[in-house]
């Protein structure tokens, strides 16, 4: 493993990310009535989380760090995500979702 990341650069990153937390969470609370979003912008913002997360998750599962697509049906990460998704289809419990996903992922890595 490489050396742990640290230093001034990381301090700036942490401050920047803390600022991003503060700015987004207080945006409307602070700007209040002065900040008016168009209807279309509101709609777009509503779908921003689901699109961002999808753009993060899917490449992470199908590339898993390498440069080549892994479309094999027995890609353990894919198995894990499917397991987690099945759990989510009948329960919102996040701990159960993680446990199911990790179980499916581990079994796939050992046996497939």
């Amino acid at each position: 493993m490489s050396d742990p990341v640290s230093g001034i650069g990381l301090a700036l990153v942490i401050l920047g990310l803390a600022l991003s937390t503060l700015v987004t969470r207080t945006s409307f609370l602070v700007a209040g009535a002065r900040l008016r979003l168009s209807h279309r912008a509101e709609v777009a913002l509503r779908y921003a989380p689901v699109c961002t997360l999808s753009a993060i998750i899917v490449p992470d599962v199908l590339f898993h760090g390498g440069a080549a697509l892994d479309l094999a049906p027995f890609n353990p990460r894919l198995v894990g995500v499917i397991g987690a998704a099945l759990w989510l289809s009948w329960s919102r419990n996040i701990v159960g979702c993680l446990a199911t996903g990790m179980a499916a992922y581990s079994l796939a890595r050992v046996y497939l």
Partner: protein, 216 residues
Amino acid sequence: MISGVAMVKGGLAVPWAIAMSLLVYAGSAQLAALPLIVAGAPLWVIVATGLITNLRFVIYSAAIRPYFADRSLGRRMALGYFMTDFTFVRFMRSAQEGSMPGAHRDSWFAGVCSSNWITWQVSAITGIIGASYVPTEWGLEFTGTLALVALVGPSLNARPAVVGAIVAAAVALFTHALPFKLGLFCGALAGIIAATLTDAFQKPEPPAPANATEAA
């Protein structure tokens, strides 16, 4: 706890991971920024990723604003900063059920937020310190991805969201080779455009009650 383990497994030194947990206090933004930090991406890219991942809080802050419009600026900022997905949902539910004392709703919200903050920080720091005792072979970093799946799953309940997610994933896959995780931006942007278009196409006029069942 997942964000804690993931940060250390990703290569962050323990004190820095703790500082990040305490100050940033946004699990999904931390998880999303982590690979960029490890890869040495430029500061603006990392902060932009944090902003995008935190965008849902803009909507939350718009939703709770009416309840705190008469409070001081400092109080509004403090309440906003400590708001999370969980405390937001708790607050809105209680506010709509009317089970919250009206005059003291900022105290009520502060109570929910502070207990949530303590629980989150204790488990995150446990994860940070405990991470070195967990072998890499367990693949625990995968829990980060699963946590995002748990976050995204319940939002896939309407057609525009599903279309947006599919487009975002496809574009992100095709642009994966771009540096600095810019594929993430391309994918997210394309997905948002697709979802907005689907939304507009689905209900060209303000939703009529007759169409509501059909759309669902």
